[in-house]
């Protein structure tokens, strides 16, 4: 049975067509992946289904009957549930309160918390979704928060569950647990729509895949009849190299040395603990870790945005521990910040101005900017780094996420740096742009630059880095040249992993 059918759905934002006459069928009881690059219109389409948006044209059929879903309340009544990419949870309320709000069990007109906790407990037992029923959201892990989100929709008796990029915030172990849950839900007769831009996940979990590109459906295929390569081609519209070609490079002298740095926070807590890193010419050193384990602090310390409490940072045999950011940049440091909108760009500035940011002195004469030189330089950078834009007078906030990132990377790599601090360089960027960025980073390696790659993407680290350090709670807990994905995952989740859990995990990986 076709549980959902979209017929000619169109959604516009101003002149921009986010969904262009979408036709799509979801079968009852399947796991259906919606695959596409960022901005392909996947989430928009699901928001149309969930009543958060109202489409301009088209019809949605639910259980073969036409339905007008104009608000989430109605969607919930019709058995739809959505697990949003950014969790819709209230930090200072308990898990139970978050789950029941809107459909509270009552006793004498008041909320019956005891009954509510029992109900939550029951559903969580049924689906093996362990949560502490009386704990505040702010005190539980991201994985547990996601389980609360799933319980929220199950509590509302959803038959169709929409997951919007659910793995983006999870560790590999948590991803495995999530996939187990998804299979259980499917076995229990639920229909699952899974939004993602990751090929591997799609191949792993789905029954069928629909690929979206630029707001249009490219095609729907059975997962068993397709390959990652074909899906990538459908997504991007051209051949994509999924594996980067890494050539050997000549490793030279030390360029950056981080010597025993520590950082204490506001409440005297250790944010970084005795970190030692040395990076040589032509070498990529990776930092792996679940976000929030000190990567951001390390990035800020090296970039000069934060003062270290103790230790030294040496760039090209000069001590830059106390040097301000400007001096660091002059000495050859380039920084691709992890938060491009906050630190990488001025969103309301033109592309040209963004490209000379930090380097504006080279384009100045007698205190005035040299507009012609700037335009010429910008044109080169935009072309070389394939930033797709209308003109260089556009403001940066008009670019898509991937193009913004390419702009930042273009600026940082065009100044002939000695050392590149690349933090989450492909965060929230689609396959095509990832390929491009990876190739550029490898090109820098070939040109004998030293590179520190801080990333939450294991694939990225494993394919690019020459050496990987694992950071956990502000400390480097392991360093090695070759890791398997599973090893890294375990180390990232904390250094002490009980043997039993390890075995169970290995079994599960083999079974998958």
């Amino acid at each position: 049975m076709n549980i959902i059918e979209f017929k000619g759905i169109t959604k516009k934002f101003g002149d921009f067509i986010a969904n262009d006459k979408i036709d799509l069928t979801i079968k009852k009881g399947e796991i259906h992946c919606l695959l596409g690059e960022n901005g392909a219109g996947k989430t928009t389409l699901m928001n149309n289904l969930f009543g958060l948006y109202n489409p301009e044209e088209g019809e949605i059929f639910l259980r073969e009957k036409p339905c007008k879903i104009d608000n989430p309340h109605k969607a919930i009544e019709l058995g739809l549930g959505m697990i949003h990419q950014h969790f819709m949870l209230i930090d200072r309320l308990t898990t139970t309160e978050n789950i029941i709000v809107g459909e509270e069990p009552l006793k004498n007109g008041l909320v019956d918390m005891k009954k509510a906790r029992e109900q939550v407990k029951q559903i969580s037992d049924n689906y093996h979704l362990a949560v502490k029923t009386n704990e505040k959201i702010e005190n539980i892990s991201v994985g547990e928060q996601q389980r609360v989100e799933i319980l929220k929709v199950l509590y509302r008796k959803a038959e169709i569950l929409i997951f919007d990029e659910p793995t983006a915030v999870l560790t590999p172990q948590e991803v495995n647990n999530l996939f187990t849950t998804l299979r259980e839900l499917k076995a229990g007769g639920k229909t699952i729509i899974f939004i993602t831009h990751k090929l591997e996940e799609t191949m792993n979990i789905s029954d069928r895949v629909t690929v979206l590109r630029k707001g249009k459906v490219i095609g729907t295929v059975n997962t068993c009849d397709t390959s990652p390569k074909e899906l990538a081609r459908m997504m991007v519209g051209r051949e994509v190299l999924l594996n980067v070609n890494k050539e050997k490079s000549d490793v030279g002298d030390n360029v950056l040395e981080v010597k025993d740095i520590s950082l204490t926070g506001k409440h005297k807590n250790l944010l970084l603990k005795n970190i030692n890193i040395s990076i040589r010419k032509g070498e990529i050193v990776g930092i792996a870790g679940v976000s929030g384990n000190g990567q951001l602090e390390l990035e800020e310390c090296i970039a000069g945005l934060r003062k270290v409490t103790s230790g030294k940072i040496i760039l090209d045999s000069e001590d830059i521990t106390h040097a301000p950011t400007g001096i660091r940049r002059k000495r050859g440091l380039s920084h691709i910040p992890s938060d491009r909108l906050k630190r990488g760009l001025v969103p309301s500035y033109s592309l040209a101005k963004n490209i000379i940011l930090g380097n504006q002195d080279s384009f100045t004469k007698n205190g005035f900017l040299l507009q012609n030189d700037i335009n010429k330089y910008c044109k080169e950078v935009l072309e070389k780094f394939d930033v797709r834009c209308q003109s260089m007078n556009d403001t940066a906030n008009n670019l898509s996420g991937g193009n913004q990132q390419k702009l930042v990377i273009g600026r940082e790599l065009s100044t002939d740096p000695k050392f590149i601090l690349a933090a989450q360089p492909t965060r929230g960027v689609d396959v095509g742009a990832i390929e491009f960025i990876h190739n550029n980073i490898l090109e820098m390696r070939k040109q004998n630059k030293a590179i520190l790659l801080i990333s939450a993407e294991l694939e990225e680290l494993l394919s690019l880095a020459d050496r990987i350090l694992v950071i956990y709670e502000g400390e480097i807990v392991s360093k090695k040249n070759n890791y398997t994905k599973e090893e890294l995952g375990l180390l990232m989740a904390g250094k002490k992993v009980p043997e039993e859990e390890k075995k169970e995990l290995e079994n599960r990986i083999q079974n998958d």
């Binding site: 989430p72 029941i100 509270e104 007109g109």
Partner: protein
Amino acid sequence: MQEILEVIFNINTFSAAIRISVPLVFAAIGGVFSERAGIINLGLEGMLLTGAFAGVLGSYLTGNPYIGILFAIMGGALIGFIFALFTIKFEANHVVAGVGLNILMLGITTWLMQILWDSRGTSVNVTGLSEITIPILSSIPILGKLFGSHNILAYLMFIVVIFSWIILFKTPFGLRLRVVGEYQKAADTLGIKIRKIQYTSLIFSGVLCGLGGAYLSLGHLNWFSMNMSAGRGYMALAANIFGGWNPLGAFGASYLFAYTDALQMRMQALNLNVPNEIIQMIPYILTILVLAGAMIRSRPPAGLGKHYKTNR
């Protein structure tokens, strides 16, 4: 020194503080409901003033102060609704809308006084609320002095404090209200009717301020005067913050402010060889100190002051 201590621990000071606290408590709980729903409410001041005026108007027209209370409730509700229109429907900046409302109501009440009573300063005298003495309670030594004899609004205040707390923390409406104030989008995705909840809480907020205002004019003085609220709305907003956006806390904080005010008045009568101006400063200095301490730890609703736009 002993004189001062006697004033500080005098039962009459505590009793006077209850009277002073009534309008503050009503307005502060009005602030709790509004801010828990995500709307910064500087308009408390204007709402109090409206209540005070409407109360006197009702009593003036009918000769019955209880009809005056009804007028105050309706006036407060109307202003609450208007404030809601501006902040929710027209997405005005909450602070600007609140201050605007205060200036507007100051102007309107003064103008109406001119028309009705031909005076910009004060209204004519109207019938005020009489005190109700509770038989047995009033004869118990200390409790009798504190709670034995008040007008109806003061008794209502105690009921409002308790019921507000129950509504906010024990009922489905309260839970939804808190979710709306924290994260409107999350509330929306749960199918909660955000607008309905916000309008309801702001109208309720107006009603409470109306009652507080009626106490000012009908309970205290039996007339209305220009700018009668005299900053109590702002103080109530501070009490709401200091009380942690909780009706019980708001009551405690309002009572503390009221107590220092009562203390200050009594200390002036003591001839302490200290300029009266210094003594008059005590409540304000205490407010500043307490608030400075409270602000560091306080945690407002996460969605306070934010607008949420749907794409429907």
